[in-house]
Structure formats: C-alpha cells, structure tokens
C-alpha cells in the first residue's frame, strides 16, 4: 500500500469516504453560532475586539478617563499568573487538536491499513517506530491517530456535559433562590434526590439502559451524546445548591431592592442584576465540571460501556488491558492523555478562580 505522502484533500476525501464526519467541527460551529445569537450578534464581537474610547464624557459635560472594566482587570490578573497562561494554552492546544485532528493524523483512527503494512513497521501490536509513533493496537490500528482522535470525544463530552449541567443547575438554582416558598421547596427536594444518587452506579445503569436497552429509539443515540446526557442530567445538583445559596444572599442586597423599586421585572432582576454577580463561582465550577466530565467519561468507557466503533481514551485503556505485559504503551499513553487534559482543566479552574475573584482564593 502506498502511503508515502498523502495530500491534505486526499486525507479529507478518505475521511468522508469512511462516512465518519468530523463531528467536532460541527459541534464547534454550533457553539460559535449559539454564542453569536445569545450575545446579540456583532455587538458582542465588537465589544470583544473593537477599539474603545479611552476618554468619555460624563453627564456633567466634563471629560474623564474610562475606568477599567471588570473583564480587563480579570485579564490583567490572569495574565500575571504563569501557571494560568500555561494551563490556558494547554487547554487551547487540546481544543485545537480536537477540532483539527482529521488534518493532523497520519491514518484513519478506525481503519486497519497498518495491519497489512507489516514490512514497514506496521502489523498488530508493534512497538513505537518512526512511521507509527505510538505503535499499533491489537487490531492493527495506528495508536497515534487514535490518540489524536480520542481528544474529540473527551472534550465534547466534558464541555457539553458541563454546559448541560450548567443550564439545568443555574436555571433551577436561580429560580429557587429568587422565588422562595413552594418553588424553592420543590426544586430543593428534586436537588436532594439527585444528590442522593450514587453517581457512578446510576451512570453505569443509565448508559447501559440507553445503549443496550429494549427501546429502539434510544439505541440510535451515538455514544458520546449518551454520556453527555447522562453526565449532564445527573451532575447538576451541587451547582444548583450553590447558585440558590448565592442568589438568596444577593436577593436582599440594596441594589437589587433599588432595581425592584424602580420597577424592574423579575426576569430583568435575575438576568441582569443577580446572575452577572454570581458569575465567578459558576465559571469556576463549570471549568472544574469539564475536568470531572472527562474523568467520568474515561471511567465509564474503561468499564467497557462504550461502543467499540467510538474512539475514546478510556476505551483504549480498557482494550489494552489484555496486552499489558507486551505493550504497556497502549494502556499508558491514553491514560496519560486523560491525565494531562484533566490536569490542564483543573489548573485552568484554579487560575480562573484566582483571577475572577481574589477573595475566593483559599
């Protein structure tokens, strides 16, 4: 087989031929479009990148310098921290790999052509060499390509399960904290129920119910979406409690009362007076939830709950368990990949906590 130099388009063509769309690209595009619509289109982008007037006219007619905005202060604090920059760039690189891995990887992650390339260093369970930098696995698939491709599932599961649990948790928490009484009672009881679930045990049950159950329409859902749903649906309870407590705290502050006196609606008070002020812990917890999501996904697929057609780091460790003695790198490389990504997200969470709210430190 001639695989000396494959051009970029040829790789993409081969990719499309294998009917495996780069889903991460679709997801990334989806995210960008969502952010665009949520932030009122161009104004958000302008606010991010557009030059601002540094000198403004006050109501008296006098000129003064614009006081630094909150986000610029946060950025200043963040960029001073070396660990923060390091972890941020690590996360960024991982995300870039997860989006553009079809271009980077030398072989298909599920194709078995290295198996038939034994004379050039391929075959089944070979040692790492120049052509196959991480060796090949037991079915003769290139381990390096699989490592790159595994980042997609890990990151999509981590990020989207975190977003899902943020959506549920923040909405319910804000409602419970703002409209006391019966609303709070009902929401808090539901939260108690989800807090009382043995998380991993129920997640194993739910994943196998959705993936191998008797309901046909549930079995159609792809593996990563299943894990996103399970982690998101069962993981919001702690966040909900935190948001409810913070909302309660802010509810009685003077500026919220002032807004209410001025006739602001409940929706406006929640959206523009309460939520922005409890954003710091939410962002930090969301980042840490990404790390937790990646770990949980790895754990679930390690237990053998993934579908064999999906490329996932945890599943690679699981499959390599039979080859521990001869090819330890097959198990260790994906394991360390999980470790470094999770470590990067944990460090990012800590750095964001320090930058967003210095009082939260320690």
């Amino acid at each position: 087989m001639e695989t000396t130099r494959v051009t970029f388009t040829a790789k993409l063509d081969k990719y499309m031929f294998e009917h495996r769309l780069p889903k991460s690209m679709i997801w990334a595009g989806f995210l960008v479009i969502c952010a665009y619509y949520i932030n009122d289109g161009f104004t958000a982008i302008k606010r991010l990148f557009g030059a601002k007037e540094t000198i403004i006219i006050t109501k008296d007619g006098t000129l003064r310098e614009r006081s630094p905005s909150q986000w610029s202060l946060v950025w200043k604090r963040y960029s001073k921290n070396k660990v923060a920059i390091l972890s941020g760039s690590l996360v960024l690189i991982t995300i870039l790999i997860a989006i553009f891995y079809p271009i980077l990887m030398p072989f298909g992650p599920v194709g078995t052509e290295p198996l038939f390339d034994a004379w050039n260093g391929g075959g089944s369970t070979t040692r790492p060499n120049i052509k196959y930098p991480a060796g090949t696995d037991i079915l003769g698939r290139d381990e390096f390509s699989r490592l790159l491709a595994g980042s997609e599932v890990s990151l999509t599961v981590g990020i989207f399960s975190s977003i899902l649990s943020l959506l549920i948790g923040v909405t319910l928490g804000a409602l419970a904290g703002y409209y006391r009484g019966w609303t709070e009672e009902v929401i808090m009881r539901i939260t108690d129920m989800f807090l009382a679930l043995p998380f991993l045990v129920i997640a194993i049950l739910a994943v196998s119910f959705i993936q191998r159950g008797t309901l046909e329409f549930l079995r159609q859902i792809p593996q990563s979406v299943v894990i996103i749903i399970v982690l998101g649906v069962f993981g919001w309870a702690g966040l909900c409690r935190l948001v409810a407590a913070n909302t309660k705290q802010i509810y009685n502050l003077d500026y919220v009362n002032a807004a209410r006196v001025l006739g602001a609606s409940n929706k406006r008070i929640i959206m523009s007076h309460i939520l922005p002020n409890i954003m710091a812990p939410i962002i930090v917890l969301g980042t840490l939830a990404i790390a937790g999501g990646i770990l949980s996904e790895a754990g679930l697929t390690f237990l053998g709950l993934g579908s064999p057609t999906t490329v996932s780091w945890g599943q690679m460790v699981n499959e390599a368990q039979t080859e521990l003695k001869l090819n330890p790198e097959l198990a260790l490389l994906p394991g360390f990949a999980i470790f470094f990504v999770v470590l990067a997200f944990n460090l990012l969470g800590d750095a964001l906590r320090d930058a967003l709210d210095p009082r939260l430190r320690e």
């Binding site: 009881r189 108690d192 129920m193 807090l195 009382a196 679930l197 043995p198 998380f199 991993l200 045990v201 129920i202 194993i204 049950l205 739910a206 196998s208 119910f209 191998r212 159950g213 008797t214 309901l215 790390a291 770990l295 790895a298 754990g299 390690f302 237990l303 053998g304 945890g314 460790v317 521990l324 003695k325 330890p328 198990a331 260790l332 394991g335 360390f336 999980i338 470790f339 999770v342 470590l343 944990n346 460090l347 800590d350 320690e362």
Partner: protein, 573 residues
C-alpha cells in the same frame, strides 16, 4: 374548641385503624373448594383436608390421613398474575397510605404546637386525603373477591366457601407462609367497619376548629402538663432540631421511593434476561421460555412487579439472583464487607497523611511545603484512578518487581498438606486467607488513598487557613500562647468540624466510586459484582445494589446534616 378533643380523637382513631387492619378486610373466594372435604393423592389414599397454604405461585392443600398420623400435601397451581397484581398491589397500597397518613398527622401536630399554623394545616389536609384514599382502596378490596382459579386440583366439589386474607400481615413470599385457618366468614368483614370508624374519627379530628395557641380548659390536664416528664416531652417536641429531623425523615421516604421507581424503570428496560439465560441451554423451546418468564415473574406488568419488589424490599427480601440463584441479601452482606474493608483502610491512611500535611501546608503558606502539598492534591484530583492503578501494577506486580499480587484476590487453594488437627488447621487456613487478603489489598488501597488524600488535603488546608485568620487566634497569639498550642488546641479543633461532617458523605462517595478500582484489581466487592451483574442482566442484583447504596447515602446525608447542626451552634435552622 379544646385541643384535647382533637388529640383524643386522633389517638383513638389511629388505634381503631390499626386494629382494623389486623382484622381480615376481604376474603378470597375459591371457585369450588370444599373446605371440610377430602382429597386423594396419586396412590389412591384418602386424606382429610386440614388446611391450605398460599404461596406466590401455588396453593397447597394439606391433609391428614384417616389415622391422623401422616400429612400429605397437594399443590394446586393458579394463575399468578391475579395474585401479584391484585392482592399484593392493594395490600401494599393500603400499607403505604396508612403509614404516610400517620406520619403526616404527627407532623401536623408537631407543626401546630410549634406555632407553624399553615404548615400544620397543610399536613392535616394531606393526612386526611391519604386516609380517604385508604378508604377507597379498602372498599375496592371488599367488593372484588379475588377469584383464584385452580388448574389441576383433585378436590371434591362441594359448594362455595371462603377463607380470610389479611392485607397488612399477609406476606406470600415468606419462607414459611402463614397457614390460613379455613373458616366461613360469609359477607361480613368486621375489620372493615372498625377501619371506617377509625378513619372517620381521625378525619373529623383534623377538621375541628381548634385554637392551638390557647391553653387547654381542663385544669387537671394543665396540672399534668407541669410534671417533669411532660415538660421534657413538650420541650423535645417543640425544639427546632426535632422538627428539623422529623422533616428530613419525612422527605427521605418519598425521595427513596422516587429513586427506586427511576432505577426500576431503567433496569427493566435494559434487555431480556430470559433470552440470556436460555443462551446456555441446547434446544430451548418456546415452552421453556414461557416457564422461565413465569418463574421469574416477568410476565406481569411493570407496575405490579415494582410494587411486589418494593413490598418484598420492605420485608428485607430482595429476591434471588438470576445468575447464582442465591438470595441477594446474603450476597450483598458478603460483598459490602469486602468493599468497606478496602475503602475504610484507604480512608484511614488518607486521613493519617492528609491532616498533618494540610495543617503543615496552611502553617507555612506560600512556601515549598505549601506548593508540594497542593501539587500532590492536584495530581490526585487529575489522575484517573485506573491509570494510577495501572502504574502501580506495572511497578509492583508480576509485570515489574513482582512484589505484590494485582488480581485474583480470595482464591487461595485449599491446603494440600495438613499439618495438624482442629485448631491448627483452622489457624493455618485462616492465616493463609488473611495474608492473601492483605497482600491483595495493598495495591488497591494505595490507589484509593491517593485519590482521597487529594480531597482531604485540600479540605484541611483551606479550613485551617480560614480558621487561622479568625480574631480569637489573634487574641490567643497576643496572650502569648505557644504556636503549637494555638495550632493544635485552638485552630485544629475547629478544623475537625468539616472533617467529621464529611465522614457521612464520604461513605456514600466511596461506595459509589468502587466499581472502577475493583474492576481494575478484580477485587470481589460490591462494585465489581455490580458491573458483572449489568453484563448478565441480573435484575435483582442490580436493583439490590442500587437500593442498598441509595439507603446508605440517604442515611449518610441525614447523619451529616444532623451532626453539622449539633456540632456547630452557629448554624440556624
């Protein structure tokens, strides 16, 4: 109106309800069974009918022969669908309704005595609605005789008679089900009327217009109220902590039921265990499939199965495993000890390291010690436990140094050479087994310790920093106390509060997190067997493990909350 009347009505009403539930409420009418008759077995011997025994799947008639010596049993099959979905459903429903009604009535009393008028009224109304529901259920039970159709009994046909069946005390799934004395009770069921009177009394008492804050008019009762015992009871009842605990206990029950419903629905949608069982059988016929489905009770609708399962769970019976056909109680009892052994050992070591490390790091903030401890904590948080376990296996097990075993725990072969008798044999096997268990425990314990260490070091460090910033530490320092006294006597005691309160939560967390570690090291514990049971579609095992874990977590949360309130006086309820 005086509140004594209401309380008295409630008490008498509930006593009547409970008495009524122990008197048979409805009868099971047989199609054509002579209760004073005779039957003959396959060899032609004639037996006098002595009694009948009801089981889930079958009805057994017991007879004595003419000399009154030997006892023979004839079994009559009947359709089990009618059994489970009607009798058990109704009796379980009655049971639930009555228990909840009692709980809500007590809560209403507690609330109204404590001055929470609106909540008390709400609880009373709920209790009344539940009692009326119980009334409706019992009327349904009265009017529907459960016709149990016998398929192949050899009895003489001799008129219609019936025997009584009590919905509360009846448990068809006991090992030795109660013998029912066959008596003709006709259409009159006295328990029903006692029951109705009790319910009416309680409902009336709930809606009497009563001023709860007004003291009672009876001077005798008021004099009684000043005695010490009653004062104490009154103090306990009106204490906020007891109201809080009652409330928490009440919320636990619907929580548990909701979780059970959710898991039951998910487990039953997981696949077809009958097909999996039949896989091992050569030439399995359609009849085999039907037989197995029936014997597992899977031919009944899901709600009836759930009620039956829950009813059995309340009697501490979780059914038999589909795989090994052993009772789940026994299996979980053995496995939970194995899991706890592992988890508690690693918890102990983690605390042993984490407390000094966290305190040391907090005392030397922003030095190399601090960064060392936070690095360890960060590594422990970020490392997936199976990767750390794999590294340990590569280094210490047969793949590397060969010091410690990594798998096949608890598989000691029986000793070949027997060197002694009695105690010596026991001691040798015991020693070998213990040594084997301990050797196999080392690697999983290290792996788990690493994870727990991270959590606890962070907790101890942040709490210690918070405490050290307090004013009383400053004043202690200003008074010239030594640094050691300040750290361990003044600061550390306050650090203990979150640690102690986390123990309850820890148990739950540890038990739920067991599957991954146990699967990696093939440790025969709850988590490993749970993952296997998911693969085998062993429904009773899956349900049993989730139910037990949920109960443990709920109790852990409750204890945590109570301890938190009891230990820390600053917290207001």
């Amino acid at each position: 109106m005086d509140k004594n009347i209401s309380i008295a009505l409630k008490i008498v009403g509930f006593v009547l309800i409970i008495i009524g539930t122990f008197i048979p409420l409805y009868e099971v009418a047989f199609d054509a069974v002579s209760l004073s008759g005779e039957f003959s077995d396959s060899e032609g011997l004639i037996f006098q009918l002595f009694g009948a025994r009801l089981d889930v799947q079958q009805l057994t008639f017991i007879g004595i022969d003419t000399e009154g010596n030997t006892i023979n049993e004839v079994q009559a099959l009947f359709r089990p669908t009618q059994m489970a979905s009607a009798v058990v459903l109704l009796s379980a429903a009655l049971w639930f309704l009555i228990v909840f009604a009692v709980l809500f009535a007590i809560l209403g009393q507690v609330f109204q005595s404590g001055g929470f008028r609106e909540r008390g009224i709400f609880s009373d109304i709920t209790a009344a609605i539940l009692l009326l529901g119980a009334l409706i259920v019992s009327i349904v039970a009265m009017n529907n005789g459960f016709n149990i159709i016998s398929e192949d009994y050899r009895m003489r046909v001799d008129g219609n008679q019936a025997f009584s069946l009590n919905p509360i005390t009846f448990n068809p799934n006991e090992e030795n089900p109660a013998y029912f004395n066959l008596t003709f009770i006709g259409k009159f069921a006295p328990g029903f009327y006692v029951y109705i009177i009790g319910i009416l009394m309680v409902v009336t008492s709930l809606f009497l217009p009563i001023d709860w804050e007004k003291p009672t008019s009876s001077t005798k009762l008021r004099g009684l109220g000043e005695t010490k015992v009653f004062q104490k009871i009154k103090n306990i009842l009106t204490m906020r902590l007891s109201v809080y605990i009652t409330r928490r206990l009440l919320t636990l029950i619907p929580l548990f039921i909701a979780i059970c419903v959710m898991t039951y629905v998910m487990v039953n949608g997981m696949g077809d265990p009958v097909a999996l069982i039949l896989l091992g059988k050569p030439r399995a016929t359609e009849q085999d499939k039907i037989n197995i489905t029936r014997s597992l009770g899977l031919d009944q609708p899901v709600y009836a199965r759930f009620v039956l399962w829950f009813y059995k769970l309340l009697h501490f019976d979780m059914g038999n495993s589909y795989r090994s056909e052993r009772p789940i109680n026994e299996m979980i009892g053995e496995l939970i000890w194995e899991t706890l052994k592992l988890q508690l050992a690693s918890f102990f070591f983690a605390l042993l390291i984490a407390i000094p490390l966290g305190v040391w790091a907090a005392k030397n903030q922003n030095t190399w010690i601090d960064s060392f401890s936070s690095t360890i904590a960060l590594l422990g948080l970020s490392m997936p436990i199976f990767v750390f376990g794999l590294i340990l296996i590569f280094i210490f097990s047969g793949l590397g140094l060969g010091w410690l075993p990594a798998a096949k725990a608890h598989r000691v072969p029986t000793p070949v050479v027997i060197t002694g008798e009695g105690f010596n044999i026991w001691w040798v096997t015991f020693w070998e087994r213990s040594l084997d268990s301990i050797l196999h425990m080392v690697l999983p314990t290290i792996a788990l310790t690493f994870t727990f260490l991270a959590l606890y070091t962070r907790l101890v460090r942040s709490t210690m920093l918070e405490v050290l910033r307090q004013d009383y530490i400053l004043s202690a320092r200003a008074n010239g106390l030594s640094e050691r006294t300040i750290t361990w006597k003044h600061a550390f005691r306050n650090v203990l509060i979150p640690i102690v309160t986390y123990v309850g939560l820890f148990l739950a967390f540890a038990l739920a997190g067991a599957p991954i570690t146990e699967t990696l090291f093939t440790w025969p514990g709850l988590g490993y067997r749970y993952v296997l049971a998911i693969g085998y579609l062993d429904f009773p095992m899956i349900l049993g493990v989730t139910a037990v874990l949920t109960i443990l977590i709920l109790i852990g949360n409750l204890i945590t909350d109570i301890v938190y309130v009891a230990v820390d006086p600053r917290i207001e309820l």
